[in-house]
């Protein structure tokens, strides 16, 4: 009897606890939103990049849509998810963001501006073929790297 009761209790606790993970609401909301934002950049960059690298056929409409998405992403109001206290120093492995991004002297805003300009330039030529997109991806990639270098822990 006692064994069955323990078993039932354990099962209930486990079931209740697991629902907390179900909706992905476990992590810090700012971190979750940041990662999602980055993943959408990556999603659209992959569409364009695969055309440039010859992994996919060029499709003007798809390229334009992806480039336009990149522009829109840079215009979102991100102020609620780039907030102090949500870096690797406070939250550990949940995020690769380094504290320097929120400290004085941070150039993150300026780099954000560079990315915005680069995506506009990319969208301007997205329908003009891979020869046009290739060079336009350069400044976009460079902006990504310019921020990742000082403010994101590298892999490994």
């Amino acid at each position: 009897m006692k064994f069955l009761l323990t078993l039932a209790l354990s099962a209930t606790i486990a079931a209740t606890a697991s629902t907390a993970f179900a909706g992905g609401h476990d992590g810090n909301p700012a971190v979750t939103a940041r990662k999602a934002h980055m993943q959408i950049y990556q999603h659209n960059l992959t569409i364009l990049g695969n055309m440039v690298r010859g992994n996919a056929d060029y499709d003007a409409a798809a390229a334009q849509a992806a480039a336009d998405n990149m522009v829109i992403l840079t215009t979102l109001n991100q102020s609620t998810y780039w907030i102090p206290g949500t870096t690797n120093a406070e939250l550990g492995d949940e995020t690769r963001t380094l504290p320097a991004i929120f400290e004085s002297g941070s150039t993150a805003r300026e780099i954000g501006g560079q990315l915005a300009a680069a995506t506009v330039a990319l969208a301007a030529v997205a329908s003009d073929g891979v020869e046009a997109i290739g060079p336009a991806l350069g400044p976009v990639g460079a902006s990504c790297t310019a921020c990742h270098r000082p403010y994101r822990i590298s892999r490994n």
Binding site: Q42, R53, G138, A142, C144, H148, R149, S154, R155, N156
Partner: protein
């Protein structure tokens, strides 16, 4: 007994002196070197791949000024990169071309001392005379900085420059490490100017490269994390993937380079495409080390 002690003492001093003599800083042939005329325009590509700026620019300063000040935490203590801008007082503006060759080819300073091999002269020593001269001509065109160079903060006994003579005797070899394997240009770019192995190869306890684990990955010189291994057993990217990454900093799944590679990409993105392809071919041809 007393005579024995005196003989032993003299013997020890003679051995030390002999050791210091044998491991003394070497210099290039001044007459040959001073006659070479460098080309600054050609030197820009050497500068880009040599990645001088990645170490010698100030972390919070202008990315085009070689003011020094960047720190590198290692097992031997902290190195601080010096000012190598053309400034006459605080940079290397008062150097001769021979001084520059001695630094890159022999790891010897203008006042005849060993440089610590955190400065990767062990790789740069494989550069051609032309490339070294071109690089010297190019650096002379860059902006000056009057920021004074700071001292390294190294732990004893690694702070003794004379000891670097022993390091050189053990590890300083100008021969290329890998066979050419159809890409002599790729090998030259990677092993001489690009000095990729200096970050990507594990080191011995005394800081020499482990040639039998060439490019197998190592602790990141920033002190955080590791550099990845590049042998075919470890890096599954194609040659095209590598060349594209060196051009744009974008990985095959379109993440972007971060950390130490960001500075490298700033340089490799300026190279002609055939040079990036050559580096990629060299990497794909490496032996399959783990």
């Amino acid at each position: 007994m007393r005579r024995l002690l005196i003989i032993t003492a003299f013997g020890a001093i003679a051995t030390l002196a002999g050791g210091l003599w044998v491991t003394r800083p070497l210099t290039v042939d001044a007459d040959t070197v001073s006659a070479i005329e460098g080309n600054a325009a050609a030197g820009e590509m050497v500068f880009a791949l040599g990645s001088c700026a990645s170490c010698h620019t100030s972390p919070d300063g202008d990315k085009a000024v070689l003011a020094g000040g960047r720190e590198f935490t290692t097992d031997f203590g902290t190195f601080v990169a010096p000012n190598i801008s053309p400034d006459m007082l605080n940079g290397i503006g008062n150097w001769s071309q021979v001084d520059f060759f001695n630094a890159l080819r022999q790891g010897t300073s203008p006042d005849g001392k060993h440089y610590f091999p955190a400065f990767p002269y062990a790789s740069y020593a494989r550069m051609t005379d032309t490339d070294v001269a071109n690089l010297w001509a190019y650096i002379a065109t860059l902006p000056s900085s009057d920021q004074p160079s700071q001292s390294h903060r190294l732990t004893f006994p690694f702070n003794m420059r004379a000891g670097v003579g022993v390091w050189k005797a053990l590890y300083f070899r100008t021969a290329f490490v890998q066979p050419a394997r159809d890409t002599e240009r790729g090998r030259y770019l990677a092993e001489a100017i690009g000095h990729c192995a200096e970050c990507h190869t594990p080191r011995t306890a005394l800081g020499g490269l482990q040639n039998n684990r060439w490019m197998a990955g190592a602790p990141d010189p920033s002190g955080k994390g590791k550099t990845p291994g590049l042998s075919p057993a470890q890096l599954k990217w194609s040659a095209d993937d590598i060349a594209y990454y060196l051009e744009t900093g974008l990985t095959p799944d379109f993440d972007s380079a971060g950390g130490g590679m960001a500075a490298v990409i700033e340089g490799t993105s300026k190279l002609p495409p055939e040079d990036r392809a050559a580096i990629a071919a060299y990497i794909k041809a490496l032996p399959a080390t783990e």
